[in-house]
Amino acid sequence: MIRVFPLIFLLVAQPLWATSPTGVVDVTQQPHPSVAAAWLPLSQSDEAWKGVRVVHEASGEALAATLRREEKGTVLLWSVPGMEVEGETRFRYTLEKEATGEAPALEANLLDAGALTLQEGSAPLPGAINAELATVEERAALVLGIGEEKEPGFSSARFRVEPGLSYRVSFDYLLKDAPLHPNYGLSLYVWLYYLDEEGHRTRIPLKETTILHRASLLTSDETNTDGWKSRHYQVVIPKGVQLAELDFRAAAGGQRAVALSRVRVAPVILARARDEAMLAQEKAGGRFFDFGPEGSAVFDRFEAVSPKDSYTPDRGWGFSGMTDPAAFDSGRPEALGRDVISAKKATFRVDLPDGNYDLWLLSGDVSTHQAVRRYYFNSQLRVNGKELWTEQETPAEILMRGLYDGYDKFWLPGADYYNDFVVPRFREFTTSVEVKEGRLLVEWENLPLGALVILPKKGDVALQTVVEGIAAERRRDTVLHEVPAPADKEGDWSPNAQEKERGFALYHRPVEEPRYPYARPVKGSDRLERLESFGTPGEVVPLWFTLHGLEDKGTVELEALALEGEAGRIEAGALKVGIARYLFWNAGAKGESGGYRYQVRALPLDHPRPVPIRKGLNWSWWVNVEVPKGTPAGVYSGHLRLKEEGGAETLLPVRLRVLGFELEPLPIVQGFYYKPSEPWYAFFWHRNVYGADLKKEALELRDLIIEQERRELAAMRTLGVNSVAFGDDLRGDLRFEDGKISLIEGDRFTLWMNLYKEAGFGPMPFYGMTPYGPTPGTPNRLSWLDDSLKPPFTPAWYAAYAELVEMLEVTRRKNDWPEILYYISDERSNYGQPGADLGAEVAASLKEVRKRLGIRTIASLNGPYERVMVPHLDLSMPNYAFPINEESVRFITDSRSAFWIYNVGKQRLTQGLWTWAMKAGGRFQWHYRSHTAYTWDDVANPSREQTAYSISYPTPKGPIFTLDGEEARAGITDHRYLATLEAAIAAAKGNRALEEARAEAEQFLADLRERLPVDARRLIESDDPKEAGGEIRHGLNGSEALERVRWGLATHILKLQGGEEGVAK
């Protein structure tokens, strides 16, 4: 059995030498060599220290050591020899002015022989199975597959890990003619196995059903790697795990086919040293408590406190009272801030000598690990009876502040994610208190408390110094990773004399290109002299340009002026100015959990504001001209005015041709998925609410919700859509009595449907209904209503499911709501054939009720498995993955189901022209908005719901759209132009004077349709048609082509509606 020892770093500082700071490190020894690492105290991180000497105190042996400068401080790395020693061994370090001696491998590594140094007489590899050390392609390597075993592998030495902390695992591998596993087609697996204290590979219960006993790092299907390949992963250690080991396995054997090198494991957050000040704090009787769930990460020097820690006189601290405790660990930003304890009421007692003390308390529940944010109401904090905090805000104020949280952090050059979005999640309290009778009582109600520091007043140590030190360490521990913008394209643009003189250039690039702060015009033709467009009365016509700074100047803001025409005027108020706001985008974890990974890009079109002109920095403005209905046809001219700080002005000419016709409404059912944000979730779901019963205490929230939803629905309508797929599943709003299902009093479905009807929408696909049909591995949601409905597909279940639909339909008719489309399932192909078969079962079960009530069912289909469902659906709504091709569309229509489309992109082309060409009866896209914990800080959300999908943002002044939202609007408007031309063609039938114009218009539409392939992947080039042997014939990708098409449509409409006079010759 291999003995495993905890690896703990303790740095004990010594009195500073006059010129050479020193310290000691006590390491709990491991039996195998490793490379240890620790942050030097910030006080010792001066760059003047170039070298370090480390000596093993017991033997006097000098060890290889080095200092590594990092942005966040200085890391001390040293080689720790393998020794069979119980307990701790002391190392002494001395900083030096010059670099001296030998340096160890420059990476911390908890693994024995991880760097795989080939040394004569080196100890046998611990845990190695069927492997040897050898030189492979000039590298020291571990070679798998030297024996006869079927799956030769290597288990690393076991290393101690701390639950909740992130570890970086990296290795290089080389495959040479590696055979593939016959069933799985894989050559190499790499896992991180979790072990308990006894060294057993352990199973961790997750959400009752899932068992996790290892993290899969790599499954390679390569046979040959053509040299060494590097991989790195960041793994968060689950709760309950103390030890871990890496397991490399050649999946199908193979003699010497797999080689590994540079295998490393190191904590992402390093151990820390303590400087004089820190030691003095402890010496003076300072106490440091880190609150959180049992087993969650603990900040260095702090004592862990969980709700289970009741007060005991022996220990001298703990909870002496606690009602309804709740403890949460959000996984970010660092050990002190990520976890909290809240309670309806908590009293934490610390025994202290009588006297005066300074206290610092940290509160804040960052909720970064889940899609909803927890809200605390009626919170209070007291220390020995002294009130430190009583919540003054109303629930409505708290929830709305949460909804808009971060909106005020408009990105400007130099913006710092940590300062703008991490720090404000916390509230700090400092106070002084006198302790009598030997005890300190900290009491709180409905407050998420993260940390408590107590310092005696009599010492030399100032609380302020301690708090500043903790803040610096917390920032150092927070993992921030900015993904740089891609390099600019090559081009021939260079500034001309006028632009140099002005200090900025104005330019135009295709709308669909991503916008980064620091980019440049590419081609000379990108230069912008004026903005021109056309539109119809009642239409929203976008104008769009970018300013590129050539020097650092003051601020600039854009103002739109009225447009004048011969026949009338479009007032300035009809020109809505938006500025493309840069955001910290959620760039996806990409294997790096436990940190914040982001990229700065523009997304929402925010309300206008002055912005600074800086060299190389870009600002883009979007002006939506809302052409008033009844505006006479003609050319309207005016300007956009760029007003600089200091008075300089630049006028950008605008010309808009208003056409003499109005657009037909959208001819299909189209919209976005939508799930309301706060205060909806807190009020109706109530699952994120602490300290209040909002339905009793905050009834005013209902009015606020109505106001919010009215604004959101009105905003959606401006896009030209006529439907919304509503996503709330109505949990808690349904009642089951005597076999009958009904809506409870004051239910939200009625509230929302009334607003939906009021906003003028058409059919509503009720997406929130999908969980009521059973899915493999997920409890049947009808069981929420009654235990008798737990087993699906029983007579009782069939009856209840049909009853749910019938009840909603009867309610709809009674209230005269728009049609409800009964959305029975979503993406069942994710569960393979079993999932799709269940979907077919659910769809088929509504046969009788469909026929009797004349209702329509719908489902979103994302794979061929769901073909079995199609004959049982009224509306079949596939996405690319179904797939959508000529055969599958024919299959749907041959199956007597209507063909609709979902999630084929937010692009203008797929929203408009392509949907038209496909003759789809409906089109839905994920999403207008879905509930997230932080709308304005998507980096803090566990998924990328907001930046990757949402087309809108909430602001205190009302919803705003994203660039994607505007693309969608353009696509929908294109479709309305098509519908208008088709109506004009139909109206011209039989009119001999328009025969030629009609023939030309029909030809135009036929040509257009011919350019649009059924498989939209060809169209938006997610698939290379050349590679697939296809033909590049569409020429429609991109806003320029689509603008041309729209103008082509307009010319034909004008011809058919009264000759060509409306168009300039």
């Binding site: 799985y184 046979t223 295709p510 002299e529 004026r530 597909f793 061929p864 042997g1029 041309r1044």
Partner: protein, 427 residues
């Protein structure tokens, strides 16, 4: 009576662990055969029919008869012939293109073959005759397929599939028993039937039945063909290389071809350390899909030792760019460009003809130019020809060696938004 008919014709069972697994006996025949789905060969009439199928799932409330499913199996030389017949009046035919797993979701039959520890081969044919093959667990599913063919016949209230599979092309683990399953899906009624008593799906190999071969079991998979993935091949001449591994000593010949055609290629080959390196020229003279085949046969007996069949798609020869769907008059003249998707080593000689016709009019304009070895060309359509209206442009490239290709596209000249002299900055 032929000797193989002396064999027991009824299926018998063996116990695998606690489970009883069905067994099928595979007799040998010498007759000629044709895969047409019609069972025209005499031996089909005398072969046993296996008809004990498990119904894995059917839709609740569907009490209609299931319809009988039977299969037969026989070995003809190195080919395994399989026939599956399903009683079913109306079939729902949905997938008409082969090569997609959607075939499995249709009214379809599936055959699984493998040796214990070897790769699992899945052959699927739907009621339309569309096929799907995959070697489960191996790479390169898209461009590798064993030599096999199939045909479907429908009529008389039933539909039948015949498959012919070249056994030497399947990898078999020496000494391991052969296993199989035959399954049938009736999509509209959600009926899934399997001959083997599987629980997790048709492909659950541990519960597949066993094959008993008359005579020696096939030595399939002794020779493996290794070819780099073929992707993005342009028209033109290509030289392909293929390595045969695990080849027993002896003398061999290569047969190459496209589709079902084969022609001898090169000299007699002998393996070195069990491997033979072969090269051959492929001339891809038309755009679209090509099924390339190469076979290794015993030089003396002509017996097929191994083979490779791969599908490649070549892009069409001609593509044209620079032609917006709509052009404002102020943007003229028009300057489109063409490029030829031809392998650079293959000379582009010939001529291009460009014809522009105004739609619904007799007006046209034409230009010609030689290819002269270049793969890219640009030309200009004179402005005075392009009045407002719709146009069709035809580009014909006739090459000396690579056939010809024609491109047709339409565009529309429309008035400018503001005036003929203005040009608009498109977003």
């Amino acid at each position: 009576m032929k000797p193989w008919l002396l064999l027991t014709v009824l299926a018998w069972s063996v116990h695998a662990g606690a489970e009883t697994l069905p067994v099928v006996e595979v007799a040998q025949v010498e007759e000629r055969w044709q895969v047409d789905g019609r069972a025209q060969e005499a031996f089909w009439k005398e072969l046993p029919r296996y008809d004990q199928f498990y119904t894995l799932k059917r839709h609740p409330g569907d009490d209609a008869p299931l319809g009988k499913v039977t299969f037969q199996m026989v070995r003809a030389g190195e080919t395994l012939l399989v026939r599956v017949e399903s009683e079913q009046e109306e079939v729902l035919v949905v997938t008409k293109e082969s090569g997609t797993s959607a075939v499995c979701s249709d009214d379809a039959v599936e055959l699984f073959l493998h040796t214990e520890g070897g790769p699992l081969y899945q052959f699927v044919v739907n009621a339309h005759g569309a096929t799907f093959f995959q070697e489960v667990g191996a790479k390169g599913k898209s461009d590798w397929s064993p030599l096999w063919e199939s045909a479907v016949h429908r009529g008389g209230g039933r539909w039948s599939v015949e498959m012919a599979i070249a056994l030497p092309n399947l990898e078999a683990k020496a000494g391991s028993p052969w296993r199989l399953n035959v399954a049938r899906t009736w999509r509209e009624r959600l009926i899934y039937q399997s001959w083997a008593p599987v629980r997790k799906g048709y492909g659950e190999r541990e519960r597949h039945g066993l094959l008993q071969w008359q005579g020696q079991p096939p030595q399939g998979g002794m020779v493996r063909a290794v070819l780099p993935p073929l992707r993005g091949l342009l028209l033109g001449e290509h030289r392909l290389a293929l390595r045969w591994e695990g080849v027993p000593s002896g003398s061999y010949r290569l047969q190459v071809g496209e589709g079902s055609e084969r022609a001898p290629h090169g000299a007699v080959l002998t393996p070195v350390d069990g491997a033979i390196e072969t090269e051959w020229e492929v001339r891809l003279a038309r755009a679209g899909g090509h099924t390339l085949a190469v076979e290794l046969v015993d030089a003396e007996s002509g017996r097929l030792v191994s083979g490779w069949v791969g599908s490649v798609r070549t892009p069409r020869l001609l593509s044209v760019a620079g032609l917006w769907p709509v052009v404002e008059v102020g943007e003229l003249p028009l300057r489109p460009a063409l490029s030829l998707a031809l392998h650079p080593a293959s000379a582009a000689q010939g001529e291009v003809t460009v014809t522009v016709r105004q739609l619904n009019s007799q007006r046209s304009w034409e230009t010609r130019f030689p290819l002269s070895g270049k793969l890219d060309h640009q030309w200009e359509v004179p402005t005075d020809f392009l009045l407002t209206g719709g146009y069709e442009m035809e580009v014909s490239a006739k090459t000396a060696h690579w056939g010809e290709d024609h491109w047709r596209g339409t565009f529309h000249i429309v008035p400018s938004i503001f005036a003929a002299s203005s040009t608009r900055s498109y977003p």
